[in-house]
Symmetry: C2
Subunit: 448 residues, 2 copies
C-alpha cells in the first residue's frame, strides 16, 4: 500500500496552537509607529477580530468553522504516499514518505489558510482583500478562496514574476482576481519606488507594503498574508494533524521530518503537530530546509525586524537577513523572503527544531529524479525538502541505518517549468550568500 | 461524502474488450499498400505482437501485466467526485458526478495506455518509441511512460503547438524525451511539406506521418498512438471499470454519461464498461461530446479513410471529416482529429451510443464555472463534457427531472491557460464547420 487516503471524516475539525505548549513564551510583535507591543485595536485596520485573537491566542485547540471545512473538503484529506520508486532510484533502505498538498485548487498548501482568512473577513462584512504574491502560489490561493466565498481580491504581484509567469496571472484571472504588477501607481509605497526607478522589478517586501497600505487606507478592504504570522501557521496545522492520523493507520511514525521553509507556514504546518509529540517526550526531529542563497535560519540573526520594505508591518522577533535583503537573480527556487515565521524562529532558537540549507543544483537534481520516478513534477520550493530527505536517506544508507523519513510536498511545479528549463539549459549556478553581505544587510535592523 | 476514493486493490487487473460483445462485427482495417485487410505481419513494422493481438482480439477480458499495474498505482485509482458546488451554482437538482483523470503524471487519462504500450514494446526488446502530439497531452504521457520503463522517446510535436505551448515541451524534456517540431527534416513526409511551404505550422495528421515513417524505417524503434486504435481504447477501460465500482459503493448508477471525444479513447474508456451493461439490458445512455468546429461524429461520414496526411496508416472504417480536414485557427479547445476510433464509430453507427457537438463559448463558460466552484481548472478538451453535462442537468431541471449524470474530467488545464486567456480577451468566436466545406473535404476518401 503506497498511498494512504483518509476518509473525509478525518479532516481535522480543530487547529492545533503550539503557543499553548511552548516551554518559553515568545516575544510580542512591536508597532512600527509606537515602539510598543502591537495592540488588538492597531491590528483592526488590517485584520478581522477572530484572526487577531488567533494571532495572540494561547488556547491549545481552535475549532475550524463548518463553512471553512466545506470548502476544504474539495481537496482534503490529501494523500500520504510512500515514495517507493524514488527510494529504489536512490538505492536506499530508509522509507521515504511524502504528504502531497499539490492537489488543492491552487496547487499548493496555501489554500488551507486562504479559505480561513477569507471566511473570517467575510463574516465581519469585509468583502474585499488585498495581498502580495511573488512566484504566484499565495496570490493563486487567495484568489480561489475569495471566489469560493464570493469576495473580491486584488493581488500585488512582484513585477518580475508578473512578466515571467504569465500563466500564474491567467490562473488568478480565472478566479476573478485583479492582478497588479508591483511597484504600482496605486500606493505611496509603489509611487515612491517608481519615482526612484521607473524600471524597478519590485520585490516581495515592497508588494507587501503596497497591499498593506491599501488595506489600511480603505474601510471596505482588509489584508491577508500567506505565511509568517501565527494565525497562518495555525491554519496549516491541518497538514500535520492529517499526516499523524495517516501514520497511525499504517503503524509507522517518522524519525525525521523535512519541509521547505520560506515564511515558515509549510514547515510549521506539517511539523508542529509532531513537535507537540516531541515536547511530550517522543523521539522525532523536524528540519526546516531553506535555500543556500536565502539562508534565513542558518545564517540570519534572531532579532526584531520589519516584515516589509516600507516598514508598515509590525516589527517581529524572528530570524532575519535584514528587511532590505534580496536573493540574487540566479536563484530560481523561490523561498526568497528575508524573514521567517516568529513561531518557527522561536522553535529554532530554543533548539526544538533543526534547519539546513541546500544548493539549487541539489534541489533540481533530486526534484527531477523525484518527478521521473514518482510522476509528480514538484514546485522548486518543495524540491528543497525532497533534496534534504533524499540526502538524509543516502546518509542513513552509508551509516547502515533504516529510518522513516517524511517530507511535505507542498505543491506541484506545473507553473514553474521555466525554472526547470533554466536548469536544463545550464543557466543556474549554486550561490552561497556571502557572510559579509549578510552582516551588511543586518546593519539596518530597527532599534527595539 | 462528495469524494469516492477506492482502495488500491480495486484497480482493475483486466481490461474489458467490447469486441467480444458487439451485436454486429466491425469492418477490418485495410492496408494502404495492398488494398486488403491489414495482416499481423504488416503491423509488425510498427507494433509489438501483444498489441497487434489486442488490436484484433475478441477475447472479453485481457489481463493487465503486473509491471503495468505497478506504474499505474502511482495515480490509480482516481477519484469519483460529486460536483455539489457546481450543481448549486447551476441551480439544478440532478446529481453531477465526475471521474477525475487529471491526477496522473501527465495530467490526463493518456498514461493509462502509454504505460501499457511502452511495456509491451520493452518486453519485445524495443527500447525506443516515436509518436506525434498536438496540444501535448499524448506526448507528455508517452514521455512519462518511456522514462518509467527506461526507454527512449521521440515526439513529433505540431509546430504551432511547439511554439505556443513551450511548457508542454519543458514537461516532456523533464522526462528525457526528445521533442521535434513537425514538419521536420527528419522524414520524407516532413521534408516534402517543408519544400512546399517552409513556414508550415504542421498538423496532427502530418506529425503522425512523420512518427510512423520513422518507426517503420528503423528496427530499434516502434510507434505508439494515443487514441483511435482498438488496443488504445481497450487500455482506457480501466477508467469506466473503476467508476462502476465507485458507483456500487455509493449505491447509485448514472443515467447519462458524457465524455469529450476527439480520437475516442477518453469516451470509450469511461463509457464502454457501462455500454456492456446497456447491451445486457441496463438503462444507461452514453453521449460522445465533440466541438462544433470539428464535428466528426455528428456531421462526418461513416466510411473508410486514412488516419494521416501521408496515407501511411491503415485505412479504417470510421466517422471522418476527410483526412485533409483541419479545424479553423479560431478553435481553441483541442479534439482536432479528422477521424474517430473505429469502435466508437461502430457503436454510434449501430445506435448504441449518442453524440452531440458543443460551441466553444459554452465550453469555456461552463469550464470556468466548474473551476470557480469545484476548484479544478479543466483542460479545454475536458470542458466539452462539462458543458454537455451541465446543459443536461439544466434541461432536467426545466423538465422537472432528477437524474444521475456522470462525466469524465479527462485532464487538468494548467498547461492550457493561454486558451483561457484568449477567451477572457474576447478572442474566441463560435464556429460551426460549414456543411459545404465538409462535403468538399470528404471528396478525397480512398476507394475501398
Amino acid at each position: 500500500m503506497s498511498k494512504v487516503f483518509l476518509d473525509e471524516k478525518y479532516i481535522p475539525d480543530r487547529w492545533y496552537n503550539i503557543l499553548a505548549d511552548l516551554p518559553m513564551p515568545m516575544d510580542p510583535p512591536i508597532s512600527p509607529f509606537t515602539g510598543k507591543p502591537v495592540t488588538f485595536d492597531e491590528m483592526k485596520a488590517l485584520f478581522p477580530p477572530q484572526l487577531i485573537e488567533q494571532e495572540m491566542s494561547t488556547q491549545r485547540w481552535i475549532d475550524i468553522p463548518e463553512k471553512v471545512m466545506e470548502v476544504m473538503r474539495l481537496w482534503r484529506p490529501t494523500p500520504l504516499i510512500r515514495a517507493e520508486r524514488f527510494e529504489k532510484a536512490l538505492g536506499v533502505k530508509s522509507k521515504i514518505y511524502f504528504k502531497y498538498e499539490g492537489t488543492s485548487p491552487a496547487g499548493s498548501h496555501k489554500p488551507n489558510t486562504a479559505v480561513a482568512q477569507a471566511y473570517y473577513n467575510k463574516i465581519n462584512g469585509i468583502n474585499r482583500l488585498t495581498t502580495e504574491t511573488g512566484a504566484g502560489q499565495w496570490g493563486s490561493a487567495l484568489s480561489v478562496a475569495c471566489k469560493m466565498l464570493e469576495m473580491q481580491c486584488r493581488v500585488f504581484m512582484v513585477k518580475v514574476s508578473f512578466n515571467q509567469k504569465p500563466y500564474r496571472k491567467s490562473f488568478m484571472r480565472m478566479f476573478d482576481a485583479e492582478v497588479i504588477p508591483s511597484p504600482s501607481e496605486f500606493t505611496n509605497a509603489g509611487r515612491e519606488i517608481l519615482k526612484q526607478n521607473p524600471e524597478s522589478n519590485g520585490s516581495l517586501g515592497l508588494a507587501i507594503s503596497e497591499a498593506v497600505e491599501e488595506a489600511a487606507g480603505r474601510d471596505d478592504t482588509n489584508y491577508a498574508l500567506g505565511s509568517v504570522l501565527n494565525h497562518v501557521v495555525l491554519h496549516q496545522t491541518v497538514i500535520g494533524l492529517e499526516t499523524k492520523k495517516q501514520f497511525e493507520l499504517i503503524n509507522d511514525y517518522p524519525d525525521k521530518i523535512f519541509a521547505s521553509c520560506g515564511g515558515g507556514s509549510n514547515f510549521g504546518g506539517i511539523a508542529i503537530p509532531f513537535i507537540k509529540d516531541k515536547l511530550e517526550g517522543k523521539d522525532v526531529e523536524a528540519i526546516a530546509v531553506e535555500p543556500a542563497s536565502c539562508p534565513t535560519l542558518t545564517k540570519g540573526r534572531f532579532a526584531y525586524d520589519y516584515g516589509d520594505v516600507a516598514k508598515l508591518t509590525p516589527i517581529m522577533k524572528m530570524y532575519t537577513l535584514g528587511h532590505d535583503f534580496e536573493p540574487p537573480a540566479i536563484h530560481a527556487g523561490g523561498l526568497r523572503y528575508h524573514g521567517e515565521s516568529p513561531i518557527v524562529s522561536h522553535l529554532y532558537h530554543e533548539g526544538i527544531i533543526d534547519a539546513q540549507n541546500v544548493h539549487q543544483s541539489d534541489i533540481f537534481k533530486y526534484g527531477i529524479m523525484f518527478a521521473q520516478t514518482e510522476g509528480i513534477v514538484p514546485a522548486p520550493e518543495s524540491a528543497h525538502a525532497i533534496a534534504a530527505a533524499a540526502m538524509e536517506a543516502e546518509n542513513n544508507m552509508e551509516e547502515g541505518k533504516e529510518k522513516s523519513i517524511l517530507f511535505c510536498l507542498s505543491g506541484h511545479g506545473f507553473f514553474d517549468m521555466s525554472a526547470y528549463d533554466a536548469y536544463f539549459d545550464g543557466k543556474l549556478e549554486d550561490y552561497e550568500y556571502p557572510e559579509e553581505a549578510i552582516r551588511k544587510s543586518l546593519e539596518n535592523l530597527p532599534n527595539v
